[in-house]
Protein backbone atom coordinates (compact mmCIF):
# COMPACT_ATOMS: atom_id res chain seq x y z
CA UNK A 1 0.00 0.00 0.00
CA UNK A 2 2.80 2.36 0.90
CA UNK A 3 4.50 1.59 -2.37
CA UNK A 4 1.29 2.35 -4.20
CA UNK A 5 0.77 5.65 -2.38
CA UNK A 6 4.38 6.61 -2.92
CA UNK A 7 4.00 5.88 -6.61
CA UNK A 8 0.83 7.94 -6.82
CA UNK A 9 2.45 10.87 -5.04
CA UNK A 10 5.48 10.76 -7.31
CA UNK A 11 3.21 10.58 -10.33
CA UNK A 12 1.05 13.51 -9.29
CA UNK A 13 4.07 15.69 -8.50
CA UNK A 14 5.55 14.91 -11.89
CA UNK A 15 2.12 15.54 -13.37
CA UNK A 16 2.27 19.12 -12.12
CA UNK A 17 5.31 19.80 -14.27
CA UNK A 18 3.79 17.97 -17.20
CA UNK A 19 0.73 20.19 -16.86
CA UNK A 20 2.88 23.25 -17.30
CA UNK A 21 4.47 21.77 -20.42
CA UNK A 22 1.07 20.72 -21.71
CA UNK A 23 -0.69 24.06 -21.25
CA UNK A 24 1.78 25.83 -23.50
CA UNK A 25 1.34 23.17 -26.15
CA UNK A 26 -2.43 23.07 -25.90
CA UNK A 27 -2.67 26.84 -26.26
CA UNK A 28 -0.56 26.82 -29.40
CA UNK A 29 -2.37 23.82 -30.80
CA UNK A 30 -5.78 25.23 -30.02
CA UNK A 31 -5.15 28.68 -31.43
CA UNK A 32 -3.15 27.80 -34.51
CA UNK A 33 -4.15 24.23 -35.11
CA UNK A 34 -0.54 23.16 -35.50
CA UNK A 35 1.62 20.83 -33.49
CA UNK A 36 4.66 22.61 -32.19
CA UNK A 37 7.36 19.99 -32.51
CA UNK A 38 9.93 22.37 -31.06
CA UNK A 39 8.15 22.61 -27.72
CA UNK A 40 10.55 20.39 -25.78
CA UNK A 41 13.49 22.15 -27.40
CA UNK A 42 12.22 25.47 -26.06
CA UNK A 43 12.15 23.88 -22.62
CA UNK A 44 15.69 22.66 -23.14
CA UNK A 45 16.79 26.23 -23.87
CA UNK A 46 15.16 27.43 -20.67
CA UNK A 47 17.03 24.71 -18.78
CA UNK A 48 20.32 25.94 -20.22
CA UNK A 49 19.41 29.51 -19.30
CA UNK A 50 18.85 28.26 -15.76
CA UNK A 51 22.14 26.41 -15.89
CA UNK A 52 24.12 29.43 -17.04
CA UNK A 53 22.52 31.65 -14.43
CA UNK A 54 23.20 28.99 -11.83
CA UNK A 55 26.92 29.03 -12.58
CA UNK A 56 26.71 32.74 -11.74
CA UNK A 57 25.08 31.85 -8.48
CA UNK A 58 21.44 32.54 -9.33
CA UNK A 59 18.88 30.21 -7.82
CA UNK A 60 16.82 28.23 -10.39
CA UNK A 61 13.59 29.65 -9.01
CA UNK A 62 14.87 33.18 -9.49
CA UNK A 63 16.00 32.44 -13.02
CA UNK A 64 12.35 31.71 -13.72
CA UNK A 65 11.93 35.45 -14.06
CA UNK A 66 14.70 35.64 -16.62
CA UNK A 67 13.99 32.52 -18.62
CA UNK A 68 10.28 33.13 -19.02
CA UNK A 69 10.53 36.60 -20.62
CA UNK A 70 13.46 35.45 -22.75
CA UNK A 71 11.57 32.46 -24.10
CA UNK A 72 8.46 34.57 -24.52
CA UNK A 73 10.46 36.85 -26.80
CA UNK A 74 11.94 33.92 -28.67
CA UNK A 75 8.46 32.49 -29.16
CA UNK A 76 7.23 35.83 -30.48
CA UNK A 77 10.12 36.00 -32.94
CA UNK A 78 9.57 32.43 -34.12
CA UNK A 79 5.88 32.95 -34.69
CA UNK A 80 6.19 36.35 -36.28
CA UNK A 81 9.07 35.73 -38.65
CA UNK A 82 9.07 31.99 -39.25
CA UNK A 83 5.56 30.60 -38.83
CA UNK A 84 3.17 33.40 -39.78
CA UNK A 85 4.75 34.00 -43.21
CA UNK A 86 3.93 30.38 -44.06
CA UNK A 87 0.18 30.96 -43.84
CA UNK A 88 0.29 33.07 -46.97
CA UNK A 89 2.25 30.78 -49.27
CA UNK A 90 0.60 28.17 -51.43
CA UNK A 91 1.93 24.70 -50.75
CA UNK A 92 0.95 21.14 -51.42
CA UNK A 93 1.04 20.13 -47.78
CA UNK A 94 -0.75 22.23 -45.20
CA UNK A 95 1.63 20.73 -42.64
CA UNK A 96 4.43 23.10 -43.63
CA UNK A 97 4.17 24.94 -40.32
CA UNK A 98 4.65 21.70 -38.41
CA UNK A 99 7.68 20.86 -40.50
CA UNK A 100 9.02 24.33 -39.85
CA UNK A 101 8.83 23.66 -36.11
CA UNK A 102 10.81 20.46 -36.72
CA UNK A 103 13.50 22.54 -38.40
CA UNK A 104 13.45 25.07 -35.58
CA UNK A 105 13.74 22.30 -33.02
CA UNK A 106 16.73 20.88 -34.87
CA UNK A 107 18.46 24.23 -35.02
CA UNK A 108 17.83 24.92 -31.31
CA UNK A 109 19.18 21.49 -30.33
CA UNK A 110 22.27 21.88 -32.45
CA UNK A 111 22.96 25.39 -31.21
CA UNK A 112 22.78 24.07 -27.67
CA UNK A 113 25.13 21.22 -28.58
CA UNK A 114 27.45 23.71 -30.22
CA UNK A 115 27.62 26.00 -27.22
CA UNK A 116 27.39 23.55 -24.33
CA UNK A 117 28.57 20.28 -26.00
CA UNK A 118 26.67 17.02 -25.57
CA UNK A 119 27.79 16.52 -21.96
CA UNK A 120 25.22 16.09 -19.24
CA UNK A 121 25.04 19.13 -17.02
CA UNK A 122 23.70 19.20 -13.50
CA UNK A 123 22.41 21.95 -11.34
CA UNK A 124 23.01 21.11 -7.73
CA UNK A 125 21.16 23.08 -5.15
CA UNK A 126 20.87 22.27 -1.48
CA UNK A 127 17.27 21.21 -2.06
CA UNK A 128 17.90 19.09 -5.15
CA UNK A 129 18.03 15.83 -3.23
CA UNK A 130 16.22 16.84 -0.07
CA UNK A 131 12.98 15.10 0.82
CA UNK A 132 10.41 15.41 3.58
CA UNK A 133 8.03 12.83 4.92
CA UNK A 134 4.30 12.81 5.48
CA UNK A 135 3.63 9.56 7.27
CA UNK A 136 5.65 7.01 5.37
CA UNK A 137 5.45 8.83 2.07
CA UNK A 138 8.45 10.84 0.98
CA UNK A 139 8.10 14.03 -1.01
CA UNK A 140 10.91 15.52 -3.02
CA UNK A 141 11.24 19.14 -1.91
CA UNK A 142 12.14 20.44 -5.36
CA UNK A 143 9.31 18.57 -7.05
CA UNK A 144 6.81 19.72 -4.43
CA UNK A 145 7.82 23.34 -4.94
CA UNK A 146 7.62 22.78 -8.69
CA UNK A 147 4.16 21.34 -8.28
CA UNK A 148 3.06 24.34 -6.26
CA UNK A 149 4.42 26.83 -8.77
CA UNK A 150 2.89 24.85 -11.62
CA UNK A 151 -0.49 25.07 -9.88
CA UNK A 152 -0.13 28.83 -9.49
CA UNK A 153 0.75 29.26 -13.15
CA UNK A 154 -2.10 27.06 -14.25
CA UNK A 155 -4.58 28.98 -12.14
CA UNK A 156 -3.22 32.28 -13.44
CA UNK A 157 -3.47 31.05 -17.01
CA UNK A 158 -7.01 29.96 -16.40
CA UNK A 159 -7.97 33.31 -15.00
CA UNK A 160 -6.20 35.09 -17.83
CA UNK A 161 -8.04 33.11 -20.51
CA UNK A 162 -11.45 33.49 -18.87
CA UNK A 163 -11.40 37.02 -17.56
CA UNK A 164 -9.14 39.27 -19.59
CA UNK A 165 -9.83 40.78 -22.99
CA UNK A 166 -6.67 39.28 -24.44
CA UNK A 167 -7.57 35.87 -23.05
CA UNK A 168 -11.01 36.09 -24.57
CA UNK A 169 -9.49 37.03 -27.92
CA UNK A 170 -7.23 34.01 -27.72
CA UNK A 171 -10.15 31.72 -27.02
CA UNK A 172 -12.16 33.31 -29.79
CA UNK A 173 -9.32 32.74 -32.24
CA UNK A 174 -9.06 29.14 -31.12
CA UNK A 175 -12.77 28.56 -31.65
CA UNK A 176 -13.12 30.16 -35.05
CA UNK A 177 -10.35 32.17 -36.58
CA UNK A 178 -12.44 33.71 -39.37
CA UNK A 179 -15.26 34.73 -37.07
CA UNK A 180 -12.75 36.22 -34.64
CA UNK A 181 -11.20 38.25 -37.44
CA UNK A 182 -14.65 39.53 -38.41
CA UNK A 183 -15.28 40.55 -34.81
CA UNK A 184 -12.22 42.75 -34.94
CA UNK A 185 -9.67 40.48 -33.32
CA UNK A 186 -6.21 40.90 -34.79
CA UNK A 187 -5.65 37.17 -35.15
CA UNK A 188 -2.13 37.58 -36.50
CA UNK A 189 -1.14 39.34 -33.30
CA UNK A 190 -2.99 36.79 -31.20
CA UNK A 191 -1.03 33.90 -32.72
CA UNK A 192 2.21 35.72 -31.96
CA UNK A 193 1.22 36.33 -28.34
CA UNK A 194 -0.01 32.77 -27.93
CA UNK A 195 3.21 31.27 -29.18
CA UNK A 196 5.09 33.57 -26.83
CA UNK A 197 2.90 32.54 -23.91
CA UNK A 198 3.31 28.86 -24.73
CA UNK A 199 7.07 29.26 -24.89
CA UNK A 200 7.08 31.20 -21.62
CA UNK A 201 5.09 28.49 -19.85
CA UNK A 202 7.31 25.69 -21.07
CA UNK A 203 10.29 27.81 -20.00
CA UNK A 204 8.83 27.84 -16.50
CA UNK A 205 8.63 24.05 -16.64
CA UNK A 206 12.27 23.94 -17.73
CA UNK A 207 13.42 26.09 -14.79
CA UNK A 208 11.47 23.97 -12.34
CA UNK A 209 12.75 20.75 -13.81
CA UNK A 210 16.39 21.87 -13.96
CA UNK A 211 17.28 21.25 -10.29
CA UNK A 212 15.97 17.67 -10.30
CA UNK A 213 16.97 16.53 -13.76
CA UNK A 214 20.05 16.54 -15.92
CA UNK A 215 20.43 18.81 -18.90
CA UNK A 216 21.63 17.83 -22.34
CA UNK A 217 20.85 19.07 -25.86
CA UNK A 218 18.70 16.10 -26.90
CA UNK A 219 16.38 16.37 -23.92
CA UNK A 220 13.90 18.32 -26.05
CA UNK A 221 12.61 15.47 -28.20
CA UNK A 222 11.21 13.24 -25.44
CA UNK A 223 9.54 16.21 -23.80
CA UNK A 224 7.97 17.32 -27.05
CA UNK A 225 6.50 13.83 -27.24
CA UNK A 226 5.20 14.11 -23.68
CA UNK A 227 3.72 17.51 -24.45
CA UNK A 228 1.60 16.26 -27.30
CA UNK A 229 0.53 13.14 -25.42
CA UNK A 230 -0.75 15.47 -22.68
CA UNK A 231 -2.46 17.66 -25.23
CA UNK A 232 -4.23 14.79 -26.94
CA UNK A 233 -5.25 13.32 -23.59
CA UNK A 234 -6.72 16.60 -22.48
CA UNK A 235 -8.15 17.83 -25.73
CA UNK A 236 -6.91 20.63 -27.96
CA UNK A 237 -6.98 24.07 -26.47
CA UNK A 238 -8.35 22.96 -23.12
CA UNK A 239 -6.54 24.24 -20.03
CA UNK A 240 -8.41 21.95 -17.68
CA UNK A 241 -7.68 19.16 -20.11
CA UNK A 242 -3.97 19.91 -19.88
CA UNK A 243 -4.10 19.48 -16.10
CA UNK A 244 -5.95 16.22 -16.47
CA UNK A 245 -3.61 15.07 -19.23
CA UNK A 246 -0.49 16.08 -17.32
CA UNK A 247 -1.47 14.33 -14.12
CA UNK A 248 -2.70 11.24 -16.00
CA UNK A 249 0.57 10.94 -17.87
CA UNK A 250 2.58 11.49 -14.70
CA UNK A 251 0.56 8.85 -12.86
CA UNK A 252 0.66 6.37 -15.74
CA UNK A 253 4.42 6.71 -16.11
CA UNK A 254 5.10 6.32 -12.46
CA UNK A 255 2.70 3.38 -12.03
CA UNK A 256 4.19 1.78 -15.11
CA UNK A 257 7.71 2.28 -13.80
CA UNK A 258 6.84 0.77 -10.40
CA UNK A 259 4.73 -2.18 -11.43
CA UNK A 260 6.01 -3.08 -14.87
CA UNK A 261 9.62 -1.95 -14.71
CA UNK A 262 11.54 1.20 -15.48
CA UNK A 263 11.86 0.40 -19.16
CA UNK A 264 8.08 0.47 -19.56
CA UNK A 265 7.78 4.06 -18.40
CA UNK A 266 7.60 5.57 -21.88
CA UNK A 267 5.65 2.82 -23.53
CA UNK A 268 2.79 3.24 -21.04
CA UNK A 269 2.39 6.86 -22.08
CA UNK A 270 2.40 5.98 -25.77
CA UNK A 271 -0.14 3.19 -25.27
CA UNK A 272 -2.53 5.49 -23.44
CA UNK A 273 -2.01 8.04 -26.16
CA UNK A 274 -3.01 5.66 -28.94
CA UNK A 275 -5.96 4.31 -26.96
CA UNK A 276 -7.25 7.84 -26.40
CA UNK A 277 -6.81 8.71 -30.07
CA UNK A 278 -8.79 5.64 -31.04
CA UNK A 279 -11.54 5.57 -28.46
CA UNK A 280 -11.83 9.10 -27.17
CA UNK A 281 -10.76 11.40 -30.00
CA UNK A 282 -11.04 14.91 -28.67
CA UNK A 283 -9.71 13.76 -25.31
CA UNK A 284 -10.90 14.67 -21.86
CA UNK A 285 -12.42 17.87 -23.23
CA UNK A 286 -15.14 15.85 -24.89
CA UNK A 287 -16.31 14.45 -21.57
CA UNK A 288 -16.49 17.75 -19.72
CA UNK A 289 -16.94 20.30 -22.49
CA UNK A 290 -14.58 22.68 -20.66
Amino acid sequence: MDVFLQTVVAGVLKGGLYTLIGIGMTLIMGVMGIINLAHGQLMMLAMYVTFVLNTMGVDPYVSLFVAMPLLFLLGVVIQKFLLNPLIKVETILPENQVLMTVGIGMVLTEIARFVFSSDYKYITTDYSNRTFYLGKISFSVALTIAFGIALVFTAAMFWFLLKTDLGRSIRATAQDKDAATLMGVNTGRITVITFGLGSGLVAAAGCLLAPVYYIFPDIGGPFTAKAFIITILGGLGSTVGAIFGGVTLGLAESLGATYLGMEYEDIVGLTIFILVLLFLPGGFKRLTKV
Partner: protein, 334 residues
Protein backbone atom coordinates in the same frame (compact mmCIF):
# COMPACT_ATOMS: atom_id res chain seq x y z
CA UNK B 1 11.32 11.41 -74.62
CA UNK B 2 12.96 14.69 -73.73
CA UNK B 3 11.31 14.48 -70.31
CA UNK B 4 13.05 11.21 -69.61
CA UNK B 5 16.42 12.29 -70.88
CA UNK B 6 17.80 13.82 -67.71
CA UNK B 7 16.96 10.85 -65.43
CA UNK B 8 18.39 8.43 -68.02
CA UNK B 9 21.64 10.35 -68.35
CA UNK B 10 21.85 10.54 -64.59
CA UNK B 11 21.26 6.80 -64.34
CA UNK B 12 24.01 6.08 -66.88
CA UNK B 13 26.42 8.27 -64.94
CA UNK B 14 25.53 6.53 -61.70
CA UNK B 15 25.91 3.09 -63.27
CA UNK B 16 29.39 3.89 -64.58
CA UNK B 17 30.50 5.76 -61.49
CA UNK B 18 32.34 2.90 -59.69
CA UNK B 19 34.49 2.40 -62.81
CA UNK B 20 35.73 5.94 -62.55
CA UNK B 21 35.76 6.47 -58.81
CA UNK B 22 37.72 4.07 -56.65
CA UNK B 23 37.48 5.95 -53.38
CA UNK B 24 35.66 3.94 -50.71
CA UNK B 25 34.71 7.10 -48.91
CA UNK B 26 33.01 8.49 -51.96
CA UNK B 27 31.21 5.22 -52.67
CA UNK B 28 30.00 5.15 -49.08
CA UNK B 29 28.49 8.58 -49.53
CA UNK B 30 26.85 7.48 -52.75
CA UNK B 31 25.35 4.43 -51.05
CA UNK B 32 23.96 6.66 -48.31
CA UNK B 33 22.56 8.95 -50.98
CA UNK B 34 20.86 6.04 -52.77
CA UNK B 35 19.42 4.73 -49.50
CA UNK B 36 17.95 8.16 -48.85
CA UNK B 37 16.51 8.26 -52.35
CA UNK B 38 14.57 5.10 -51.49
CA UNK B 39 13.43 6.31 -48.06
CA UNK B 40 12.57 9.83 -49.18
CA UNK B 41 10.69 8.65 -52.26
CA UNK B 42 8.63 6.16 -50.29
CA UNK B 43 7.74 8.73 -47.65
CA UNK B 44 6.73 10.97 -50.51
CA UNK B 45 4.20 8.44 -51.83
CA UNK B 46 2.27 8.45 -48.59
CA UNK B 47 2.70 12.09 -47.62
CA UNK B 48 3.45 14.02 -50.79
CA UNK B 49 0.96 12.30 -53.03
CA UNK B 50 -1.65 10.96 -50.63
CA UNK B 51 -1.42 13.76 -48.09
CA UNK B 52 -0.91 11.55 -45.03
CA UNK B 53 2.09 13.14 -43.33
CA UNK B 54 3.72 10.29 -41.46
CA UNK B 55 6.17 10.90 -38.64
CA UNK B 56 6.71 7.19 -38.12
CA UNK B 57 8.60 5.92 -41.13
CA UNK B 58 11.47 4.79 -38.96
CA UNK B 59 9.13 1.96 -37.95
CA UNK B 60 9.21 0.49 -41.45
CA UNK B 61 12.89 1.12 -41.90
CA UNK B 62 13.68 -0.53 -38.59
CA UNK B 63 11.37 -3.46 -39.21
CA UNK B 64 13.07 -4.09 -42.54
CA UNK B 65 16.49 -3.95 -40.92
CA UNK B 66 15.41 -6.19 -38.06
CA UNK B 67 13.87 -8.71 -40.47
CA UNK B 68 17.27 -9.19 -42.03
CA UNK B 69 19.05 -9.19 -38.68
CA UNK B 70 16.68 -11.56 -36.91
CA UNK B 71 16.64 -14.09 -39.77
CA UNK B 72 20.36 -14.33 -39.29
CA UNK B 73 20.25 -14.28 -35.50
CA UNK B 74 17.56 -16.91 -34.99
CA UNK B 75 17.54 -19.02 -38.15
CA UNK B 76 21.16 -18.57 -39.26
CA UNK B 77 19.84 -17.56 -42.67
CA UNK B 78 21.88 -15.21 -44.75
CA UNK B 79 20.79 -11.63 -44.00
CA UNK B 80 20.27 -11.23 -47.72
CA UNK B 81 17.03 -13.10 -47.22
CA UNK B 82 16.02 -9.95 -45.45
CA UNK B 83 16.14 -8.21 -48.79
CA UNK B 84 13.54 -10.66 -50.03
CA UNK B 85 11.33 -10.48 -46.96
CA UNK B 86 12.05 -7.10 -45.35
CA UNK B 87 9.68 -5.17 -47.56
CA UNK B 88 6.82 -7.60 -47.01
CA UNK B 89 7.27 -7.67 -43.25
CA UNK B 90 7.22 -3.87 -43.29
CA UNK B 91 3.91 -4.02 -45.17
CA UNK B 92 2.56 -6.44 -42.56
CA UNK B 93 3.48 -3.92 -39.86
CA UNK B 94 2.03 -1.17 -42.02
CA UNK B 95 -1.47 -2.64 -42.10
CA UNK B 96 -2.22 -2.33 -38.36
CA UNK B 97 -0.36 0.99 -38.52
CA UNK B 98 -2.85 2.15 -41.12
CA UNK B 99 -5.81 0.70 -39.26
CA UNK B 100 -4.89 2.83 -36.25
CA UNK B 101 -3.87 6.01 -38.05
CA UNK B 102 -6.13 6.32 -41.06
CA UNK B 103 -9.36 7.12 -39.23
CA UNK B 104 -7.48 10.20 -38.01
CA UNK B 105 -6.75 13.27 -40.06
CA UNK B 106 -4.22 16.05 -40.32
CA UNK B 107 -2.29 16.74 -37.16
CA UNK B 108 -3.84 13.76 -35.39
CA UNK B 109 -2.60 11.41 -38.08
CA UNK B 110 0.89 12.86 -37.79
CA UNK B 111 0.87 12.45 -34.03
CA UNK B 112 -0.47 8.90 -34.09
CA UNK B 113 2.15 7.83 -36.60
CA UNK B 114 4.83 9.47 -34.47
CA UNK B 115 3.61 7.61 -31.39
CA UNK B 116 3.52 4.28 -33.24
CA UNK B 117 7.03 4.76 -34.55
CA UNK B 118 8.30 5.51 -31.06
CA UNK B 119 6.24 2.64 -29.63
CA UNK B 120 7.92 0.15 -31.94
CA UNK B 121 11.32 1.43 -30.89
CA UNK B 122 10.44 0.83 -27.25
CA UNK B 123 9.11 -2.65 -28.03
CA UNK B 124 12.33 -3.52 -29.86
CA UNK B 125 14.31 -2.28 -26.87
CA UNK B 126 12.28 -4.18 -24.30
CA UNK B 127 11.90 -7.50 -26.14
CA UNK B 128 15.52 -8.39 -25.40
CA UNK B 129 15.11 -12.13 -25.86
CA UNK B 130 13.88 -11.69 -29.38
CA UNK B 131 15.69 -8.63 -30.69
CA UNK B 132 18.74 -8.53 -28.47
CA UNK B 133 17.55 -5.20 -27.05
CA UNK B 134 20.15 -2.49 -26.80
CA UNK B 135 22.89 -5.03 -27.52
CA UNK B 136 21.77 -4.83 -31.11
CA UNK B 137 22.54 -7.30 -33.86
CA UNK B 138 25.90 -7.62 -35.52
CA UNK B 139 26.64 -9.47 -38.74
CA UNK B 140 29.72 -9.89 -40.86
CA UNK B 141 29.35 -7.97 -44.12
CA UNK B 142 29.34 -10.28 -47.13
CA UNK B 143 31.50 -8.13 -49.36
CA UNK B 144 34.61 -6.24 -48.45
CA UNK B 145 34.44 -4.00 -51.48
CA UNK B 146 31.75 -1.36 -51.52
CA UNK B 147 30.99 -1.77 -55.20
CA UNK B 148 28.44 -4.63 -54.86
CA UNK B 149 26.57 -2.67 -52.22
CA UNK B 150 26.62 0.33 -54.46
CA UNK B 151 24.99 -1.55 -57.31
CA UNK B 152 22.41 -3.16 -55.05
CA UNK B 153 21.55 0.25 -53.61
CA UNK B 154 21.38 1.69 -57.11
CA UNK B 155 19.06 -1.09 -58.25
CA UNK B 156 16.86 -0.54 -55.21
CA UNK B 157 16.72 3.20 -55.81
CA UNK B 158 15.92 2.81 -59.50
CA UNK B 159 13.27 0.15 -58.89
CA UNK B 160 11.60 2.15 -56.14
CA UNK B 161 11.52 5.43 -58.06
CA UNK B 162 10.39 3.66 -61.22
CA UNK B 163 7.60 1.71 -59.52
CA UNK B 164 6.43 4.83 -57.71
CA UNK B 165 6.43 6.70 -60.99
CA UNK B 166 4.35 3.99 -62.63
CA UNK B 167 1.82 3.96 -59.81
CA UNK B 168 1.55 7.75 -59.65
CA UNK B 169 1.07 8.00 -63.40
CA UNK B 170 -1.70 5.40 -63.33
CA UNK B 171 -5.17 5.44 -61.86
CA UNK B 172 -4.20 4.80 -58.22
CA UNK B 173 -1.90 7.82 -58.41
CA UNK B 174 -4.79 10.07 -59.36
CA UNK B 175 -6.82 8.60 -56.52
CA UNK B 176 -3.96 9.34 -54.12
CA UNK B 177 -3.81 12.97 -55.20
CA UNK B 178 -7.57 13.35 -54.97
CA UNK B 179 -7.45 12.05 -51.39
CA UNK B 180 -4.72 14.58 -50.62
CA UNK B 181 -6.63 17.47 -52.12
CA UNK B 182 -10.00 16.71 -50.56
CA UNK B 183 -10.71 13.45 -48.85
CA UNK B 184 -14.45 14.01 -48.52
CA UNK B 185 -14.84 14.97 -52.14
CA UNK B 186 -12.83 11.92 -53.17
CA UNK B 187 -15.04 9.68 -51.04
CA UNK B 188 -18.21 11.21 -52.44
CA UNK B 189 -16.96 10.52 -55.97
CA UNK B 190 -16.85 6.85 -55.08
CA UNK B 191 -13.17 6.40 -54.25
CA UNK B 192 -12.61 3.92 -51.46
CA UNK B 193 -10.34 6.26 -49.53
CA UNK B 194 -9.39 3.79 -46.82
CA UNK B 195 -8.38 1.19 -49.39
CA UNK B 196 -6.28 3.61 -51.40
CA UNK B 197 -4.65 5.10 -48.35
CA UNK B 198 -3.66 1.58 -47.37
CA UNK B 199 -2.31 0.86 -50.84
CA UNK B 200 -0.27 4.03 -50.65
CA UNK B 201 0.98 3.07 -47.20
CA UNK B 202 1.89 -0.42 -48.39
CA UNK B 203 4.01 0.88 -51.27
CA UNK B 204 5.64 3.32 -48.92
CA UNK B 205 6.29 0.75 -46.20
CA UNK B 206 7.56 -1.84 -48.66
CA UNK B 207 10.35 0.31 -50.09
CA UNK B 208 11.28 1.77 -46.72
CA UNK B 209 11.54 -1.78 -45.35
CA UNK B 210 13.75 -2.79 -48.28
CA UNK B 211 16.01 0.16 -47.56
CA UNK B 212 16.19 -1.02 -43.95
CA UNK B 213 17.14 -4.55 -45.00
CA UNK B 214 19.91 -3.20 -47.20
CA UNK B 215 21.11 -1.01 -44.35
CA UNK B 216 21.48 -4.08 -42.13
CA UNK B 217 23.48 -5.89 -44.80
CA UNK B 218 25.64 -2.91 -45.55
CA UNK B 219 26.31 -1.50 -42.10
CA UNK B 220 26.52 -4.85 -40.32
CA UNK B 221 25.21 -3.46 -37.04
CA UNK B 222 21.81 -2.28 -35.84
CA UNK B 223 20.23 -1.49 -32.52
CA UNK B 224 16.79 -0.03 -31.77
CA UNK B 225 18.05 3.50 -31.23
CA UNK B 226 19.81 3.49 -34.57
CA UNK B 227 17.22 2.12 -36.96
CA UNK B 228 14.04 3.20 -35.16
CA UNK B 229 15.37 6.68 -34.48
CA UNK B 230 12.67 9.31 -34.72
CA UNK B 231 15.15 12.00 -35.52
CA UNK B 232 17.54 10.14 -37.82
CA UNK B 233 14.92 8.41 -39.95
CA UNK B 234 11.31 9.53 -39.47
CA UNK B 235 12.13 13.22 -39.41
CA UNK B 236 15.02 13.01 -41.87
CA UNK B 237 12.78 11.24 -44.40
CA UNK B 238 10.41 14.19 -44.18
CA UNK B 239 13.15 16.77 -44.50
CA UNK B 240 14.72 15.04 -47.48
CA UNK B 241 11.40 15.09 -49.30
CA UNK B 242 10.62 18.66 -48.25
CA UNK B 243 13.94 20.06 -49.41
CA UNK B 244 13.70 18.28 -52.73
CA UNK B 245 10.04 18.80 -53.37
CA UNK B 246 6.99 17.16 -51.85
CA UNK B 247 4.63 15.56 -54.33
CA UNK B 248 7.13 15.37 -57.17
CA UNK B 249 8.64 12.15 -58.49
CA UNK B 250 12.28 13.23 -58.44
CA UNK B 251 12.06 15.68 -55.56
CA UNK B 252 13.24 13.25 -52.89
CA UNK B 253 16.16 12.22 -55.09
CA UNK B 254 17.31 15.81 -55.29
CA UNK B 255 16.62 16.24 -51.58
CA UNK B 256 18.66 13.14 -50.72
CA UNK B 257 21.56 14.44 -52.74
CA UNK B 258 21.41 17.87 -51.14
CA UNK B 259 21.12 16.38 -47.66
CA UNK B 260 24.08 13.99 -47.99
CA UNK B 261 26.22 16.53 -49.82
CA UNK B 262 25.38 19.29 -47.38
CA UNK B 263 26.15 17.19 -44.32
CA UNK B 264 29.44 15.97 -45.78
CA UNK B 265 30.33 19.45 -46.89
CA UNK B 266 29.98 20.69 -43.35
CA UNK B 267 31.38 17.58 -41.67
CA UNK B 268 34.62 17.82 -43.60
CA UNK B 269 34.89 21.57 -43.03
CA UNK B 270 34.09 22.44 -46.65
CA UNK B 271 36.28 19.53 -47.82
CA UNK B 272 39.26 20.73 -45.85
CA UNK B 273 39.08 24.29 -47.15
CA UNK B 274 39.34 25.79 -43.68
CA UNK B 275 42.21 23.55 -42.72
CA UNK B 276 44.01 24.45 -45.91
CA UNK B 277 43.44 28.18 -45.42
CA UNK B 278 44.47 27.89 -41.79
CA UNK B 279 47.77 26.26 -42.77
CA UNK B 280 48.39 28.71 -45.58
CA UNK B 281 47.81 31.84 -43.56
CA UNK B 282 49.07 30.37 -40.32
CA UNK B 283 45.96 31.71 -38.65
CA UNK B 284 44.65 29.58 -35.80
CA UNK B 285 41.34 31.41 -35.96
CA UNK B 286 40.54 29.95 -39.37
CA UNK B 287 41.48 26.46 -38.23
CA UNK B 288 39.27 26.87 -35.17
CA UNK B 289 36.47 28.08 -37.37
CA UNK B 290 36.94 24.98 -39.51
CA UNK B 291 36.63 22.81 -36.42
CA UNK B 292 33.44 24.59 -35.45
CA UNK B 293 31.99 24.14 -38.92
CA UNK B 294 32.66 20.41 -38.73
CA UNK B 295 30.56 20.12 -35.61
CA UNK B 296 27.75 22.12 -37.12
CA UNK B 297 26.71 19.77 -39.92
CA UNK B 298 23.28 19.02 -38.48
CA UNK B 299 22.83 22.68 -37.61
CA UNK B 300 23.60 23.60 -41.20
CA UNK B 301 21.00 21.19 -42.48
CA UNK B 302 18.43 22.47 -39.98
CA UNK B 303 18.97 26.04 -41.17
CA UNK B 304 18.71 24.87 -44.77
CA UNK B 305 15.34 23.27 -43.97
CA UNK B 306 14.02 26.49 -42.44
CA UNK B 307 15.21 28.53 -45.40
CA UNK B 308 13.71 26.08 -47.88
CA UNK B 309 10.33 26.02 -46.15
CA UNK B 310 10.28 29.81 -45.98
CA UNK B 311 11.33 30.57 -49.52
CA UNK B 312 10.78 27.39 -51.51
CA UNK B 313 7.75 25.86 -49.82
CA UNK B 314 7.39 23.28 -52.59
CA UNK B 315 11.02 22.24 -52.51
CA UNK B 316 13.77 22.61 -55.05
CA UNK B 317 12.01 20.53 -57.71
CA UNK B 318 8.52 21.85 -56.98
CA UNK B 319 9.63 25.47 -57.15
CA UNK B 320 12.15 24.99 -59.95
CA UNK B 321 10.37 27.52 -62.14
CA UNK B 322 10.60 30.07 -59.36
CA UNK B 323 14.30 29.39 -58.89
CA UNK B 324 14.91 29.73 -62.62
CA UNK B 325 13.05 33.03 -62.67
CA UNK B 326 14.57 34.62 -59.63
CA UNK B 327 18.06 33.20 -59.44
CA UNK B 328 19.05 32.67 -63.03
CA UNK B 329 16.93 35.52 -64.35
CA UNK B 330 15.48 33.36 -67.09
CA UNK B 331 12.10 34.62 -68.15
CA UNK B 332 9.52 32.09 -69.20
CA UNK B 333 8.69 34.29 -72.17
CA UNK B 334 12.32 34.62 -73.20
Amino acid sequence: MKKNLLPLVLLAVLALLPLAVKSNYFLHLMILFLLWVVIGSSWNVLAGFTGQVSFGHAAFFGVGAYTAGLLFQHLQLSPWWGMALGGFVAVLIGLPFGAICFPLRGAYFALASLALGEGIRHVATIAENFTGGMMGIMIMPTFISKVPYYYIALALAVLSVLSIRLVIGAKPGYYFVSIREDQDAAASLGINTTLYKNISLSISAFWTGMAGALYMNYMGFIDPNVVFSLHDYSVMAILVAIVGGVGTIYGPTVGAFIMVAFQEFFRTGFFGLFEYLGEKTGSTAISALGGAVQQAHVLGFGILVIVVILFLPNGVVGDWEKIKRNVFRINQAG
